[in-house]
Amino acid sequence: MAIVNLTNVTYKYPLTNEPVLKDINLQVNEGEFVAVIGPNGAGKSTLCYTIAGFVPHFFKGEITGTVKVAGNESSKSNLHEWVLNVGLAFQNPFNQISGAKYTVFEEIAFGLENIGVPREEMIQRVNDGMKLTGIRDLADRSPYSLSGGQQQRVALTSILVMQPKVLVLDEPTSQMDPIGTREVFGVIRTMAERGMTVIMAEHKVEWIANFADRVVALHEGQILLDGKPGEVLTSELLTGKGFGISRYTSVARRAKELGLWRRDTLPVTLDEAVEGFASALTPSPSPKGRGEL
């Protein structure tokens, strides 16, 4: 059943002439992990803000169409009700950190304090959250003394502990090293498997290919493609529009022109690339997948 439902949504920020989102129709099912890709300026962040209620409640501007989450309609709700269902982690964690707390532990508890979670449960949730995202050792540090990647983990954790039905993430690993990226994608996948719905704006296509259930490609405020990761990420429609393309896809596309790739579909993961390229070699190297990216 669709927990997020956007119907004919068009949105214009105040003081601008062009809409940033144009006639968006998007249904996301409960427990689905949807990645949103697109060049910068395509409307990814604005789509995140819209689902999270910041558009239009915080940013104002003109919105038409309907935005529904868990049966409630955005235009008929207040932001403080909306956040009980939807959590948003900002692209720049610096914009999210409250500035009112001295330690990471307190920062993560901030949202829970505001919705009146009992003290014992609050401590439990904060500890569990920090354990999940691997930041227990940062508990007593000031949020402002952390690196960008560490701040992103704190920002993510402070949303996770709110236990929203829908988790909206705007490039949550942009400032992380590869090991951090791997861990965060793992955590998000786990949350989706536990039934949380995840909508994530992201550039890292190889990670999306391995972790997301579905990919929505945004271009100039419109949905260009919406489907399975393997189909969307290898589509010809993405070329020349500023989308990130997996190097496995790019190299196979060139190999195809040279007659060196004989399959109809293009690869997006390492395992798919190995399989496709190995099949033309003798002796064929073991195409066994190791789940690498």
Partner: protein, 269 residues
């Protein structure tokens, strides 16, 4: 103007030993990528190049200058530094003034400043945005302003700290082009990056750091093929390097051209 780092040690005031005996030589005109996990000491190392940090022991020389004997302001003549987060370095009310600030302070003539600003803005495709406040631009374009403001200083050495963070494909291509142009002009470019594929496609020399030490230093193909050693600093080899390995190609490949060539040769054998 070569860079000479000898037995560099650095400890932060809280006692954390961030660099434990680094010795490196980087020649004028070299393009070097520094890779390694967060906390490996990459940023601490490059902050020694323009005097933002001073060695606890050991020496850093930029040409004939010992960084201990020169102020940060003086070193800015030789070493330009682009911060990871552009918001930490931008402060002017419009892009033109921002980019002119550096060369103006280095004492270039008005005409020279104009020329260098124009050139730098063209390089990052911001020529038509000189009147705009940097904070009215998206983070992607603010990064370009930060790049331009350092390029305009026309230093022999340019340091980029994580230039591709949060950038989309078009922007990464733009940064790659900046590095290419600087190479053609004979500049030394030192780049810290987590984006190992970007590293493989744009740099000839790669230094891998781990826990305050240099783990590997050499030609990109040699360094990037050492998956077991790289794993110690949590760096995965580039995608096409791994693909080549899984297919048992006889050579280490790091980009599409090298892969296709090696693969084609293998299909014929």
């Amino acid at each position: 103007m070569n860079i000479e780092i000898s037995n560099l040690h650095f400890s932060y005031p809280n006692g954390v030993q961030a660099l434990k005996g680094i010795s490196l030589e980087i020649n004028l005109g070299e393009q070097v990528a520094i890779v390694g996990q967060n906390g490996a000491g990459k940023t601490t190392l490059v902050k020694h190049l323009n005097g933002l940090l001073q060695p606890t022991s050991g020496n850093v020389k930029i040409g004939d200058w010992d960084t201990k004997q020169k102020s940060v302001a003086k070193l800015a003549r030789r070493v330009g530094y682009v911060f990871q987060n552009p918001d930490e370095q931008l402060f002017s009310k419009n892009v033109g003034t921002e980019v002119a600030f550096g060369p103006k302070n280095l004492g270039f003539s008005g005409e020279q400043v104009q020329r260098q600003v124009k050139d730098a803005l063209a390089m990052v495709e911001l020529s038509d945005k000189t009147e705009i406040n940097p904070y009215d631009l998206s983070p992607t374009w603010r990064k370009m302003v930060a790049l331009a403001s350092v390029i305009a200083m026309d230093t022999s050495i340019v340091v980029f700290d994580e230039p591709t963070t949060g950038q989309d494909a078009a922007s990464i291509a733009r940064i790659a082009n900046v590095i290419k142009v600087l190479r053609e002009r004979g500049k030394t470019v030192i780049t810290i990056t987590h984006d190992i594929d970007f590293c493989a496609e744009n740099f000839e020399r790669v230094i891998a750091m781990s826990q305050g030490q240099v783990l590997l230093d050499g030609k990109a193909n040699e360094v990037l093929g050492q998956d077991e050693i790289l794993a110690r600093t949590f760096v995965d080899p580039p995608q096409l390097t791994r693909l080549g390995k899984r297919l048992n190609l006889p050579v280490t490949v790091k980009n599409q051209d090298e892969f296709l060539q090696a693969y084609q040769a293998r299909t014929r054998s």
